[in-house]
């Protein structure tokens, strides 16, 4: 056990920190999240990260990655959080599309997409959820019917981040009305510029439109764009979700660290009473719990190459911590908690964060589904009904 950086890690961290100091544009610092402001600048910043060699740190070198140990990726996310820099805009490409294509893609698919994902030339979105198929993903209805050398896609997807700026979509479709729902699904890589694709932003309770609906009307997707086999979409999708949760912990810790830091600054500024002080300390402790749980997971990942169940635990814990923390911030703002300008932190920062946090226990696997997963797969409890 050694919680300090190895010389190699220390060197990597030092270089990165210096690079961020020199290269992070001031207007990107302290980006509050949400879709609105980041898009224009996001691709340029992502490209800059790519050119400096900081994108795809753990990807194999043959696909344009750095082939570095996972600890470098952890350090990268920590340092990004510390400097309040935004992440690469292609989070779905990097975290989900890329690993899934590496696992299941043809050589053509790999060479078409992987390098462009890293360089932010291709932004990806995910087309899994549907209005009637949320937690129960396997009941999805978007149809893909083979017509010559293409699948013709009709249906509707929802809760799709980045769809309004995405170049490609990871689309899960039904190609067979098999009663065994998990079979009969096919995974397609869809060009978002295809005719018949329409994206409508879904306004959230924050007032911003971070997610989208995507409507597919007779969209033709070349057969070559099937990822994996026709009918094997469920298995491919599980790879995507495994990667979604497997690499999540550090990004969540980084996000929570930023929030805790701002919370502490707020508490100091407002000279809060003993009761609130104690609750601020609790949030800091919960952050450490998340951080060191991730380190345990990272150590296991580096030893075994397989992500442990900690991804689900981290998501559960982070979402509840972030919800509690942002409510605490509003309580510190006290009678000013309702003010969207002037009274709070700049432009309703905490109000935005607090409202946004309610989505944390819903998106990327509801807390209910995650608890089912931990109960069944980690604790071995009988399958919940």
């Amino acid at each position: 056990m050694n919680l300090r950086d190895t010389p190699d890690e220390a060197a990597f961290r030092g270089e990165l920190r210096a690079w961020l100091q020199d290269n992070l544009p001031e207007e990107l610092r302290a980006h509050r999240g949400g879709a609105g402001r980041f898009e224009e600048l996001g691709r340029a910043w992502s490209r800059k990260l790519y050119d400096a060699g900081y994108v795809g740190l753990t990807w194999p070198r043959e696909y344009g990655g750095a082939g570095a140990p996972y600890s470098h990726q952890a350090i990268f996310l920590e340092e990004l959080a510390r400097s309040e820099a935004p992440q690469h805009i292609g989070v779905i490409g990097l975290g989900m599309a890329g690993p899934t294509i590496i696992a299941h893609g043809t050589d053509e698919q790999k060479s078409a997409h992987l390098q462009r994902i890293l360089s932010a030339e291709e932004i990806w979105c995910q087309g899994f959820s549907e209005p009637e198929a949320g937690s129960d993903l396997a009941s999805l209805k978007t149809r893909a019917e083979l017509d010559g050398d293409a699948f013709v896609v009709n249906g509707q997807k929802v809760w799709s981040s980045f769809a309004h700026i995405a170049d490609f979509c990871l689309l899960l479709t039904r190609t067979d009305a098999d009663p065994a729902k998990h079979r009969g699904l096919t995974y397609l890589l869809v060009d978002m510029r295809s005719a018949g694709v329409e994206v409508r932003p879904l306004r959230q309770i924050t007032g911003e439109g971070e997610f989208n609906e995507i409507f597919f009307t007779d969209v033709r997707v070349p057969r070559a764009n099937v990822l994996g086999e026709v009918g094997s979409g469920w298995g491919v999708a599980m790879t995507t979700l495994l990667h979604e949760r497997g690499t999540l912990g550090f990004a969540l810790t980084a996000a929570l660290e930023v929030a805790v830091r701002k919370l502490i600054a707020l508490a100091k500024e407002r000279r809060v009473d003993e009761g609130l002080r104690e609750r601020v300390a609790r949030e800091w402790i919960e952050l450490q719990a998340l951080r060191y749980t991730n380190y345990r997971a990272l150590t296991k990942l580096m030893q075994t190459g397989v992500p442990g169940p900690e991804g689900s635990i981290a998501k559960l814990h982070w979402s509840e911590s972030n919800q509690r923390l942002t409510k605490l911030a509003l309580e510190i703002l006290d009678t000013e908690a309702q003010l969207l300008d002037g009274g709070g932190h700049g432009e309703g920062y905490w109000q935005f964060q607090q409202l946004r946090s309610r989505g944390n226990t819903i998106e990327a696997g509801t807390s209910e589904i995650l608890r089912n997963i931990v109960a069944e797969r980690v604790l071995g409890l009988p399958r919940s009904r």
Binding site: G134, I205, D334, T335, E363, S367
Partner: protein, 381 residues
């Protein structure tokens, strides 16, 4: 011992509920993005709601706070975006004895609010320390100078009851002028405003020196009113959760069959029912002028605001993604619940006030509160 509304009060409730469902439903409020439609105020006045506690001679119904309580709860259920809370809970008590103003309120011709907080001065009604707005008398005429923040419904209020300091101490004046600046709030149905007074003409409502006492009474009424509103908000959020849990299917079944869903809905329901008991208790204390009114109102508001917020959060979670969208009405309930929660202090602030009443008193007084906090026994003693 009778802890039920009278038949007349229940009739008022059912009339209110059906009127609001038809004319001012939650869905309709959402369609207008929670903005106030001035015409709606006259409708309320025609139903007699603006004059419930105004005497019959002054054009009101001559009823009391229990009838207003019914209205507060029902308006909370549909998030009525007009200045009813500001006019009836915050301003009306200060107008007592001013027949002309009372008549205009009862007739629906005048809306009102209360301006007390200041940027560098007091933030709560319970506090007048550092109050800097000044009242000056020139013959019979008064003028006020100062700046007030966090004024609820300032944009839709006709007259503003303003706290200020003069040689004789803190008093209350009414002002129609001054510069008003709207402030954007999370809950758009009840925005705040900033009021700047630079020698604005004012009418004296409450004598200098009596302001603190008037504020204390207003505060107790306001806390009780907000507790009742919170019950309405929480009940509406629960109703949406029950409806969704019963109809939404996943994995081939209504999601309400899953205990992770149904038990959460139950906890939301239980919380609001307990809050309802406290809110009705507080309402009765206010209506009766009971000496426990201040503690009861603080306790009820602390509990009910938390219950309403929790009910909204549970409801959003039960709804999943759709409950997180702007188009769904839930976020509006949630934002109002949070407005209520922040007004005059979050629950810990109010609970500390209750703690003082329990712990910083003699053995005998504390025994009074603990054992006899139920007014049931007062006639025995």
């Amino acid at each position: 011992m009778d802890f039920a509304f009278t038949d007349e009060q229940e009739l008022l409730r059912s009339q209110a509920r059906s009127f609001l469902a038809e004319r001012r439903s939650l869905e309709a409020v959402a369609e207008r993005e929670g903005s106030f439609e001035p015409g709606s105020w006259q409708e309320l006045a025609e139903l007699g709601w603006t004059g419930v506690s105004v005497s019959e001679e002054e054009g009101g119904a001559g009823l009391g706070f229990l009838e207003e309580a019914v209205i507060f709860e029902e308006l909370g259920r549909v998030l009525y975006p007009g200045p009813y809370f500001s006019t009836i809970a915050l301003a009306l008590p200060a107008l007592a004895g001013h027949a002309a103003l009372l008549q205009r309120v009862a007739a629906g011709e005048l809306t009102a609010t209360l301006a007390h907080a200041e940027a560098a001065g007091p933030r709560r009604l319970a506090d007048t320390g550092g109050l800097a707005t000044e009242a000056r008398q020139d013959g019979a005429a008064w003028t006020l100078a100062g700046e007030k923040v966090l004024v609820p419904d300032l944009g839709s209020a006709g007259t503003v009851v303003v706290t200020a300091r003069s040689g004789g101490g803190v008093g209350l004046w009414s002002v129609e002028g001054g510069a008003r600046e709207p402030v954007e709030t999370m809950d758009s149905t009840r925005p705040y405003g900033v009021l700047r007074l630079d020698g604005a003409p004012a009418s004296l409502l409450v004598e200098p020196g009596s302001g603190e006492e008037a504020l204390a009474q207003i505060r107790t009424r306001a806390l009780a009113a907000l507790a009742l509103e919170a019950v309405g908000v929480g009940e509406a959020a629960n109703a949406l959760a029950i409806e969704h849990a019963s109809s939404r299917e996943q994995f081939g079944r209504a999601i309400g069959v899953y205990q992770a869903v149904s038990h959460s809905v139950v906890d939301g329901y239980v919380g609001v029912e307990l809050a309802r008991s406290l809110a009705y208790w507080a309402a009765w204390c206010v209506a009766e002028g009971d000496e426990q009114a201040a503690v009861a109102a603080a306790a009820a508001k602390a509990h009910a605001a938390e219950a309403a917020v929790a009910a909204c959060e549970r409801s959003i979670q039960v709804h999943g993604g759709i409950g997180f969208t702007w188009e769904h009405v839930l976020h509006r309930l949630y934002k109002r619940a949070q407005w209520i929660q922040a007004f005059e202090g979050f629950a810990p602030v109010l609970r500390r006030e209750v703690a003082s009443a329990l712990l910083d008193v003699s053995e005998e007084e504390s025994t009074e509160l603990v054992q006899q906090e139920t007014p049931v026994q007062q006639e025995v003693a």
